[in-house]
């Protein structure tokens, strides 16, 4: 029997959730026995090559590319798991949600400590190839239907492990107190 297939991505995240996934220590060997990976930074497969069973989403949606990737995951994964605070509620990137975009961009490209004086023409990145920033950072479940949520910043390795095992085996997910954290 073929193994269940997992895809992962980091949208507006910091890859911390991916790090936490790797933090399952020696159980990573069990994981490889348990599942195959498709599109994921872990194996560097850039595009979906087949329908997947589980999609793990890190990060919320801050730009148009995030939206396209997330929708692509929804189309190609039977189960989507919102993983980490950013995917669940926008997280730290969402702290810009009440600041006008122009102000954010000016801070980043014109007036910030590392840019002040280095951008005399006052150019804000506007190449047509670049993703377009959204009006605010959206939690993933505001964009597509999400099936499960794993909170934490990052979610504890044990939580990700428990969840993956439960999803693959069909057993009930274990949620001991110590693994549910919002930070």
């Amino acid at each position: 029997m073929s193994k269940p297939i997992v895809a992962t991505t980091s949208l507006a995240g910091c890859f911390g959730c991916h790090m936490s996934l790797l933090d399952i220590d020696e159980r990573i060997l069990d994981l490889i026995d348990l599942v195959d990976f498709n599109k994921s930074p872990i194996d560097d497969i850039k595009e979906f090559t087949q329908m997947c069973d589980i999609g793990i989403i890190e990060g919320g949606c801050c730009n148009s590319e995030n939206i396209h990737v997330l929708k692509d995951f929804r189309k190609n994964c039977k189960i989507l798991v919102s993983t980490g605070e950013c995917a669940i509620m926008g997280g730290l990137p969402a702290m810009r949600n009440n600041i006008p975009i122009k102000e954010c961009l000016e801070e980043a490209y014109l007036d910030g400590p590392s840019t002040k004086g280095h951008n005399p023409e006052g150019i804000l990145p506007n190449d047509e190839e670049l993703p377009i920033i959204l009006d605010k950072v959206y939690p993933c479940h505001e964009i597509v239907k999400i099936d499960y949520y794993l909170p934490g910043c990052p979610p504890r390795a044990d939580l990700i492990w428990n969840a993956l095992v439960a999803l693959v085996t069909g057993d009930e997910m274990k949620l001991p107190y110590e693994v549910i954290k919002f930070d």
């Binding site: 605070e85 669940i88 730290l92 499960y148 794993l150 549910i180 930070d183």
Partner: protein, 235 residues
């Protein structure tokens, strides 16, 4: 000696002194009734509504209930727990609670209730409403993104001559906590620390303190809120 009365919580026989406050008496009997606004020794507000219980079948807030003989209280029952969870989730979306960036994380009572009630995601959409931060006072600042309007500060933090340092401004969903700048000028370090500790969330913070306890040794890292009460063995 004052008179003892008998009452039950979820069928468990409990005892208290006549006229005792239900939340506090429950605690004495090893029963945790969750709350965010109650503060022992301060006039109850009944504002967070999380301590809702059923008393002889009727929903009531425990913090505003004075016990009388024979009260039959339902605490850990499904519909009450569901109501509490809904309120907790409401509070999470009504503000901007970025737990990973909050100095109070790990010691925050709202977060702790989120853990205790196994909230993985609020069922309600986040609104990301803009809230003001007021950092004018020399020793403390107030971050309204995290405020849950429990009014603990309003009710308990007064000057020596009894004047309010904090008060509510506006009403409804626009209501917010205001700080009296003039009176806050004279707050001592001790008072500032007390103000921060009074706040169940990370809304009132002492300046120049920041993160204090390392992750893993904070109040609610390992044990759920209320578990210290539930460990009390009563005879």
């Amino acid at each position: 000696m004052s008179e003892k009365i008998k009452f039950t919580i979820d069928g468990k026989e409990c005892f208290a002194e006549k006229g005792a406050n239900l939340i506090e008496a429950a605690k004495e009997n090893g029963v945790y009734i969750p709350t965010l606004c109650h503060l022992e020794g301060v006039k109850p507000a009944g504002s967070c509504r999380i301590c809702n219980v059923k008393i002889n079948g009727r929903p009531m807030t425990a913090c505003t209930t004075t016990l009388i003989e024979g009260m039959n209280i339902e605490n850990n029952v499904e519909d009450i727990q569901e109501l509490r969870k809904i309120i907790i989730e409401t509070l999470f979306v009504s503000g901007n609670h970025y737990c990973p960036a909050c100095e109070k994380s790990g010691n925050c009572e709202l977060q702790a209730l989120g853990y205790r009630f196994k909230m993985l995601v609020p069922r309600f959409p986040f609104e990301f409403e803009e809230k003001e931060v007021d950092a004018e006072a020399p020793k403390i600042y107030i971050d309204r993104n995290r405020c849950i309007l429990c009014k603990r500060c309003v009710r308990s933090l007064k000057t020596e001559d009894g004047k309010s340092i904090f008060a509510v401004q506006g009403r409804g969903y626009k209501a917010m906590i205001n700080i009296d700048h003039e009176l806050a000028m004279n707050m001592t370090d001790e008072e500032a620390t007390h103000a921060m500790d009074t706040c169940p969330v990370g809304s009132i913070l002492k300046k120049e303190r920041g993160y204090y306890d390392p992750i893993g040794s904070r109040k609610y890292d390992k044990k759920p809120i209320g578990s210290e009460i539930e460990q009390i063995v009563t005879n």
